[in-house]
């Protein structure tokens, strides 16, 4: 393939903010510069909340940037552009159309004549390994086959740039591996009409196995913190020591603290209006127990932990962050270490665990402590959720405020710090006795 030295895609100073409930702006992408060269696979790697999906949608022309510009082949992107196609995490297939019709529908949008449309659709179906399934409907297919339809639908429009939004994360581990391998084979054979690929993922192994470059996104607001160039030839063996070393180092960089500073002023640590993500207390307790077990004796490799979570992979970083915040674990060079407090939690009985968790929650999650203190000062020891929601919405979007409240309610219930009535939407201290 003859490479064009000009980048296919170029982003300059892209900012994106959404209005908060309070009317102020919430910054989700901060000054993103990005170039994708001809013949390159670039992975955007970040935790939830890093704005990676928003960035992908800006590039796809589905969302306008607040400021800054996106140029595709030198032209400013002002909407979904010719030559950019997207593969969705949820496949986004039309259940009432057959495989063939699902692939053709993108060409219908281009107004192609029928014969041409059919010819190209069959070519794409052939290429992606869907022959024989032309007349099947999506609901008859397995997840892997559905995502193949997603790929066929994207390449049939002959895009220059293919966008993948967590394209493999709704699949089980083996199917995802199979699809990735086949895609890379096609890519290597030069039979795809695509020039470059930009993929969003939270899966570090996936990014390391596929990308020519990995862009690490930092959170709150999203910005590109680091670029990692991978010179290893594809296909990359995941058991190759060089690949494993790279995976370890990406884990280390993603969990390193503090992250490179941003111009943006984050809420001071200890503020009640932080965006908290729901992390199940079972998951926390389970990880602490495993870490304390003989297999790890208090220290484990993060890729190993990630493989234990497999389909819940996107919960890895919130989980690690929460354990760190509560003082149960520390992260160090891609490893997780149990702290003395973490040992204490793992080795206690359920009642003691609750007491321990309650103590740590009050110490380290200011919102939980705030709710409790408000309840303590009220004569009837009740407070409606709106009272706290409004406080949160001064700083967060309505959706993030809901996430945060849901997370705190669950932790508070587990810790028996307070009770919550979802019908009345009221916090209280009265537990049914």
């Amino acid at each position: 393939m003859l490479r064009n030295p000009e980048p296919i895609l170029r982003l300059r100073g892209v900012h994106k903010s959404f209005p908060k409930a309070s009317g102020a702006e919430l910054l989700v992408l901060d000054d993103v510069d990005l170039e994708i060269g001809d013949g390159e696979i670039v992975c955007l790697l970040g935790r939830s909340g890093s704005g990676k999906s928003t960035l992908l949608r800006i590039i796809a022309g589905l969302l306008p940037p607040s400021t800054g510009e996106v140029r595709f082949e030198g032209e400013a992107v002002r909407g979904p552009a010719d030559g950019i196609a997207m593969v969705f995490q949820s496949f986004a297939l039309f259940p009432w159309l057959s495989v063939l019709e699902n692939v053709e529908v993108g060409l219908e949008a281009l107004g192609l004549p029928r014969a041409e449309m059919r010819k190209r659709a069959l070519e794409a179906i052939d290429l992606i390994g869907l022959d024989g399934f032309e007349s099947a409907y999506p609901k008859e297919l397995s997840g892997g086959m559905r995502q193949r339809v997603g790929f066929a639908r994207a390449i049939v429009v002959h895009p220059k740039l293919l966008l993948m939004d967590e394209a493999f994360s709704a699949l089980d581990v083996l199917t995802a591996e199979n699809l990735r391998t086949e895609f890379l084979e096609l890519w290597g054979s030069g039979r795809l009409p695509i020039r470059s690929v930009l993929m969003v993922t939270h899966n570090i192994e996936e990014a390391v196995s596929m990308g020519d470059r990995i862009l690490l996104l930092a959170t709150n607001p999203g910005r590109i913190a680091e670029t990692i160039r991978i010179e290893l030839p594809r296909p990359r063996d995941r058991f190759d020591p060089a690949v494993q070393a790279l995976v370890d180092s990406v884990y280390a960089r993603m969990t390193a603290r503090p992250l490179p500073p941003s111009r943006y002023v984050a809420p001071p640590a200890g503020a009640i209006t932080e965006h908290l993500l729901q992390v199940s207390t079972n998951l926390m307790a389970g990880l602490l127990e495993i870490l304390a077990g003989p297999a790890f004796a208090g220290r484990a490799d993060l890729p190993h932990i990630a493989s234990l979570l497999h389909r819940e992979g996107h919960e890895l970083f919130p989980l690690l962050e929460m354990l760190q915040r509560l003082g149960y674990a520390e992260l160090e060079e891609g490893d997780i270490l149990l702290t003395p407090e973490g040992w204490r939690f793992a080795e206690s009985d359920p009642e003691e665990r609750k007491a321990n968790f309650r103590r740590q929650l009050l110490l380290h999650v200011p919102l939980a402590a705030h709710i409790r203190s408000v309840l303590d000062t009220r004569p009837r020891q009740r407070a409606p959720v709106v009272r706290f929601r409004e406080e949160l919405e001064d700083q967060l979007s309505a959706e993030d405020a809901s996430d945060t409240l849901r997370a705190v309610i669950n932790w508070g219930r587990y810790a028996e710090l307070f009770a919550y009535d979802d019908q009345a939407e009221v916090f209280s201290l009265e537990n049914p006795s």
Partner: protein, 577 residues
Amino acid sequence: MSDPRPSPAALGGRARTLPNRWDWIALPLVLGAVLAIVHGAREMGGSLESVVETPISLSPAMLPDYALQTTLRMFAAMAASLVFTFVYGTLAAKSRRLEKLLIPILDILQSVPVLGYLSFSVIFFLRLFPGSAVGAELAAIFAIFTSQAWNMAFSFYQSLRTIPPDLQEATRAFRFTRWLRFWRLEAPFATPALVWNMMMSMSGGWFFVVASEAITVGGRSVLLPGIGSYVATAIFQRDLAAIGYAIACMVIVIGLYDQLLFRPLVAWSAKFRFEELMAATQPRSWLLLLFQRARATHFLVAPLRLLRHPFLILGAPAPHAHAAPSMRRERLKDIVWYALIGAGLTAAIWSIFSYVRTGIGWSDLAETLLLGLFTSARVFSLILLASLVWVPIGVQIGLRSRLAEKVQPLIQFLAAFPANLLFPFAVLGIVHFDLQPGIWLSPLMILGTQWYILFNVIAGTMAFPADLQHASANLGIRGWLWWKRVMLPGIFPYYVTGAITASGGSWNASIVAEVASWGDTTLVSRGLGAYIQEFTDAGDYPRIVLGIVVMAAYVTACNRLLWRPLYAFAERRLRIS
């Protein structure tokens, strides 16, 4: 690249166009339907004089012809309702400003009693087509339309609002035109709910088609040829045998409608259900299967198929640009828009008020309010009574899935059967046993609508998760505790849906059900429905308007104060997902 393989559609070659054994049934069905439509339509275009002068014959030989015309009215109204639905639902879902206006209007339209429209539409359409039967036909069709269109438009609007965001993004990323998006995403996504609502509308429509063919407004009566007029004539002439024929004919018509339309449509629409997995049971229809297998019939509609592609790509490729709305201009447009709505609203209220004020006073308002109280008391006690009867029976049927499969088609049939055909028997009974009409006419209101309660309760019981049933059996939960803790909460969301439908239908039916006659015997039970009916016959328009407004107010109040909170509660707390 140089491999132009035969497309799957072309693989069969010529063999696909030759008739097979399925065609021997499919082709006559298609041709017969076309002929019937042409025949019926020709008869509907005559002059008003000929309609008025040709008396309705009570000979059973005339019934097929009358039934055909009644059915055609029904389908004409359905076609109009579909067009209305697509336009109104799309506008409401797509424009934030229009939504604020169109949805409340729809809410009001829905609560106005269907037959209330009739007294006005008759005059309007008769004046529009003076001397032609078309005016009277359109008035009847419009009345049926008003019984069908609103819930269909609502369902379409709601479907459009709940399209999964990833599919919407996919259509934008692949640069669908609005036109392509409508036919490839929006209409298909809305289809299952829309088909379901069409069927509900049709079932309700049979009731109103019968009621709207024999129109008496201000002393002037028009009898459009059809089953409704046949029954009205039979009642007037006290011909019990003719009533029997009409009922038998209606049974056949509804049976055909069920087999030839309802079932195929529902089975077909299952394809559009938005679900990840194959459902365990797929609705089936022999007719749909027949047409899917008949080759030559496919060949007949092939030209239509060829048109599909050019139709879909009209206007492609799509324009693509971010709309960059200026916040200040948008806000200004908002202000102008709401000011316009406000002005329109004031004008509308004022014109109704000043119209109604001519010749009637506060005492009339007080009277209608009191009568409304009577009618709502009837509606509620009947819903309660029907619930007490049908909930236990429905649960017992639903628990036996083999039985339920047999019973459900029967209930759908009963719901579609126009209950007003049975009114004469009720009148005879009341007169014969010298009963109190104020009480004994009431059951007529719920005669046709109680089936919705039964139907939904059965559906709810069948949808109740088997493992919850096993768990409660395992825990030894029985008797009243089982009803209170297991089954009643489990079916409640379904029950509420059924009860809402039954309540709305009963209000509508009250206009016909509170006044029933047999020859010159007329039984009246005091209520708002009888009030509207009485002044419609007398042509007293201010009082008709007053009656309709008060009834719409009662219906809206019921919905807001009782049904919606119940529904919201059921959805939030008791829906098993």
